[in-house]
Amino acid sequence: MNETPLIHAGVKRCSKWQFSLWMAGVTAVLLWGVYAMFLCWFKGLNQTNMNDAYGFALWIWADLAVIALGGGAFFSGFLTYIVGKDELKNIINYAVIIGFICYSSALLILAIDIGQPLRGWFIFWHANVHSMLTEVAFCLSCYFAVLTIEFIPLILENPKLERKPFLHHLSHNMHGIMAIFAATGVFLSFFHQGSLGGVAGVLFGRPFAYREHIFIWPFTFFLFTWSAAACGPCFTILVTKITEKITRKKLVKDNVIHLLAKISGWMLLTYIIAKTADTLYWAMVTAPNAGFTLMDFYASPTYNIGLLFAEIVLCGFIPGLILITKRGRENAFLLNTAIVLAVIGVSLNRWVMVLQVMAVPVFSFNDWYTYLPSWQEVATTVLPVAYGLIVISLAHRYLPVFPQEKELNPVK
């Protein structure tokens, strides 16, 4: 009985050697990131290329982006447990794992990003309830706890672990109340995704970021939550597709993917319409009130108007329209294009909402601020990717992530 396999029976996995080699490669990248992380911790943030004008930079973008992309977890959970889309149970595990990776990465990046990491807990202890960042930190941590709770039962389904009676029961008991956790997660996610939108929206000293009237509340909140809900599932689909490509087998049935794609499509389209309204009001009313024309904000070679086009049309309307049409989402190429565009779109939006805010000069006598991340910043941003790959690889190898895998890939 000590011979219980680590790998589930009935599924095929690559050889130990192949797996080890792959893991070694990814771990090397991870260690590079970890080294950079320790540099930042021990030597301070002078290791970065951030400066007083670029206080928020690559890391905060990465944070916002992974949280948006990890939004697949809460939204799929919402659809599965609250709306009751049962098909999605076939992809929800993966959504949870991706969410877990994204959120743990976000927390890690935040821990590197702050100047005095050992005082980081002040954000909880001495919370300023008016700050968007406080809200983000609270909900982020709580939701991360929820994601962990959602992930644990899956881990416990590993054949070896499942043999321990306590763990077996624990897994079972957690399943029993999972809907409550899921609901809590959705509740928390609505808040922190929204607050992340507010992070930039409330900066009334920054005309590029600032929104007025209903466009600050609830719009900035709404837009971020909505875009995360739209694009997070796209990222889940994207990662699933990549996993299928790499493992060379089908893992989720098409009807599941198409359902999720369709919902995402509608979310994306409605989001982008709202975003357009927001942009128009901002460009025509809010910014001119502060003495800016729209083109003032896009007057740099890097930050030109093409960016706005890319975000709204190319990565908004186009994927949205593809995904809502049956022909579009059922065509593999179009589907893949659409989800990639959606993922790029939301990442671009987060980039613009953080880095362009920093780049735009508020004083007429100042130049555009430029910034290129240092290798330490790049390494620490790549770190979560490597970490994510490791978690996904382990999960896929040892856990029953895809309920449909055995059916779709019968082992002879």
């Binding site: 005095q116 050992l118 005082r119 002040f122 202890w125």
Partner: protein, 762 residues
């Protein structure tokens, strides 16, 4: 019960869980959380400044000749802040960035903390710490040796100043020792001083009574950037007392020009022509002070000497400078010249001032004369709001020096720099001529030992590379600098002086001010390191030398000497910090001139001496600048910035911190260039270029500045140090390195306001 692996595990878990639960009910986790929180808020490496009673000490800043009164704030006896002394008559509370940085001269990595002896090659930076006894013995020994060889004149001393008791004590030492070679850094003051001597026959410091003027015509003087005592000038400007009307004439929109009522851009080097042109208009339009000219002037009109030779007078000579011609020379619009002349002449109390930037460059005698005579035709001599001369304060009533034969022979030797010789009879110091003399001399170097105090010639001298080479010929160099400056780092011995806040000294007069204000700089702290007052050091060396040299110094130490010197003033100075001595003579007596004619000489007869054929009347001859215009298409011009110290005292880290990125970027000097000029050369703002002059080259970065005349490149003085500390060294280019000296044919003083240059993209 049976304990197998499994149950052991669960029991351990139970203990841990129980422990965790229990500890939550104890103060430990909560208290620890709080303590860790405090720990993370008070890192042991973050300094905690010690508290103490706040007190103030009044003193005077000696970082420049401005003589500003300062209040030093102390906490528990520790100086923590410098502020301007509101009660001080010179600056009335105003202070410049350097004054505010004074504490960084007291402490900091640039300080020499003990006497040092060179190890390894000169300038290599390897030092051996020695005791004061060893250091004094070494210097005294060398001096004794040269004296016993009968060559005391081969000892030279370079001093930053010749004003006050410290330089005078050192001068006395040189005399008693037997060397005429006491050299001093020359500035615009020296040229103006000579112009005044030529016209009035009086020696002393030139003063410009800005306090009582209402129209300032500034020929490039940075009157808001360090000219004439920064604290004083800024205070006057702030109080609305200066610059009621300020007209600034220079080719670059300086900070002074920016605040002036009018900025007139002029082709650099043609200021003399403009001054004469203005005089021309004033004479033509009879806008001059007829009463002064008629009663007190000589040589205004044509005159005939005792031999019957007819001479042109000033009024005739300036016929050569009609507005049209002056406009051509200076690049100023023709119509502007008479307008300016009338404004100047009709102002209630106009004054014309010269001295480029902070006045670090002497400039030509013609230029100083032309500006002085412009004041003279406005009747602006020796009166309120005018130009006058402040006699050197003769508190130096020390017992007469008895010198021995060796000394007497030494003193009869000609000065190494040629000052006072037939060639340059009216000039006191010509430090800029030292390098060439040293290099030119055959056989043993004419200077065998060099003492440097209060000066940093290896940074401030034109063509510093050449100066360094010349210094290589001097076998023995001793520096008394408190800082590891360029010269100190090139010395064989360093006998560090106290820094200004540790040093007792009197400041005999504030530069440029028309009243005699003596201030006392009192030490605000005990010497922080093993340094000795330079006065004490020289007294000690004299004592070591013995004989007449020793007996020339009957004082125990510098303090005794100072007290003896200041006599009655000491008590007031010690208590109040400053005394003001009125030298004002009643008005008619002010017009007593010591010239041959007994009048103010528009035709300075004293200028004719020896074989020299300098026409006495000021004339505009374009000051030649170095370089072939074919090869060097641009002109490099240094400028002075108030945030950079370009002279003997270098920047404090705080000052460098205020410097903008369009002056210094990391290790590179940024130079100003007119965008039109740069575009013609195909260069962009921010481009890195190689700047080449006949004297050297440097990598610099371009800054497009509309406020500079096309064809010019402006580079700030005060960067490009190679010594001191990491906070100053290897930052930018020392502009002196790129420019050589050009001697004024009359005075020998340096007139090089710029040099031809060219830039090429890297």
């Amino acid at each position: 019960m049976k304990i197998d692996r499994r149950s052991f595990l669960s029991y351990t878990t139970a203990v841990v869980l129980g422990g965790a639960a229990g500890s939550m009910l104890t103060p430990a986790p909560w208290k620890l959380m709080d303590d860790i929180s405090i720990w993370t808020q008070n890192w042991p490496w973050t300094p905690v400044p010690q508290d103490g009673a706040i007190t103030y000490k009044h003193s005077v800043c000696t970082l420049c000749p401005g003589g500003c009164g300062i209040d030093v704030r102390l906490a528990g006896g520790r100086p923590i802040k410098i502020e301007g002394d509101k009660d001080h008559p010179v600056n009335k509370g105003s202070l410049c960035p350097r004054g505010f940085s004074a504490l960084q001269y007291l402490y900091g990595p640039a300080r020499v903390t003990t006497p040092l002896k060179r190890e390894g090659k000169r300038g290599e930076g390897k030092w051996q710490k020695i005791t004061w006894d060893e250091a004094l013995t070494a210097v005294s020994g060398k001096l004794a040796e040269l004296r016993s060889n009968g060559r005391p004149d081969t000892v030279a001393c370079i001093s930053g100043s010749d004003q006050g008791t410290i330089p005078n004590l050192i001068g006395r030492f040189m005399t008693a020792y037997g060397s005429p070679n006491f050299l001093c850094t020359a500035t615009a003051k020296d040229a103006m001083e000579q112009a005044i001597y030529l016209t009035q026959g009086r020696q002393g410091s030139p003063v410009f009574d800005i306090e009582n003027a209402d129209f300032i015509l500034s020929f490039g003087a940075g009157i808001l950037e360090g000219w004439g005592g920064t604290g004083r000038m800024l205070n006057l400007y702030g109080a609305g007392k200066s610059a009621k009307t300020l007209v600034q004439i220079e080719p670059r929109l300086s900070d002074t020009a920016a605040r002036a009522n009018q900025w007139i851009s002029i082709t650099p080097g043609t200021e003399t022509a403009l001054a004469l042109g203005l005089a021309h208009v004033m004479v033509k339009e009879s806008l001059y002070d007829r009463q002064f000219i008629e009663n007190f002037a000589f040589g205004f009109n044509d005159w005939t000497d005792d031999n019957g030779t007819a001479h042109k007078g000033f009024a005739t000579a300036i016929n050569d400078y009609p507005p049209a011609k002056v406009a051509r020379i200076t690049g100023i619009k023709e119509a502007e010249i008479p307008k300016l002349a009338r404004k100047f002449a009709k102002a209630a109390a106009p004054i014309a001032v010269s001295g480029r930037g902070q006045g670090l460059l002497p400039g030509s005698i013609d230029e100083s004369l032309a500006v002085l005579l412009l004041n003279a035709i406005a009747g602006n001599i020796n009166k309120k709001g005018g130009v006058s001369v402040l006699s050197d304060f003769d508190y130096a009533k020390w017992p007469e020096i008895k010198i021995d034969e060796t000394a007497s022979k030494g003193m009869q030797q000609p000065r190494i720099d040629g000052a006072g010789s037939d060639d340059f009879p009216n000039t006191r110091y010509l430090l800029n001529r030292l390098p060439e003399t040293l290099v030119a001399a055959s056989g043993d170097a004419p200077i065998q030992a060099l003492l440097v105090t209060g000066a940093n010639p290896l940074y401030t001298m034109p063509d510093t590379a050449a100066a360094k080479k010349a210094f290589d010929r001097i076998p023995f160099i001793a520096s008394f600098s408190p800082f590891m400056d360029e010269t100190a780092s090139y010395a064989d011995y360093i006998l560090p002086d106290h820094t200004p806040l540790e040093r007792l000294q009197e400041v005999p007069a504030a530069v440029g001010i028309s009243r005699q204000v003596i201030s006392l700089a009192k030490p605000v702290v005990k010497p922080v390191y093993e340094t000795h007052h330079v006065g004490d050091t020289f007294i000690q060396i004299a004592r070591n030398l013995g004989g007449f040299v020793k007996s020339a110094f009957p004082w125990k130490d510098y303090e005794t000497f100072l007290k003896a010197t200041l006599k009655d003033h000491w008590r007031t100075l010690n208590k109040k910090g400053w005394v003001e001595i009125s030298h004002d003579l009643p008005e008619p007596l002010n017009y007593v001139f010591n010239t041959a004619s007994g009048k103010f000489e528009f035709y300075p007869t004293a200028r004719v001496s020896g074989q020299k054929t300098i026409p006495p009347l000021p004339a505009f001859t374009p000051v030649p600048i170095e370089g072939d215009p074919q090869r060097f298409d641009l002109v490099l011009m240094p400028f002075d910035s108030i945030r950079l110290a370009g002279g003997d005292v270098a920047n404090a880290p705080f000052m460098t911190k205020t410097v903008d990125a369009n002056v210094l970027l990391h290790q590179t000097s940024v130079v100003e260039i007119n965008p039109a000029t740069a575009r013609k050369l195909g260069l962009k703002d921010g481009d890195s270029v190689k700047l080449t002059t006949p004297r050297g080259e440097a990598t610099v970065q371009l800054y497009f500045y509309d406020g500079i005349m096309p064809g010019l490149i402006a580079m700030p003085r005060g960067l490009g140090h190679t010594a001191y500390s990491d906070y100053l060294a290897n930052k930018g280019t020392n502009v002196n390195q790129l420019i050589g000296a050009i001697a004024d044919p009359d005075s020998g003083l340096n007139t090089a306001w710029g040099i031809r240059a060219t830039i090429t993209r890297i």
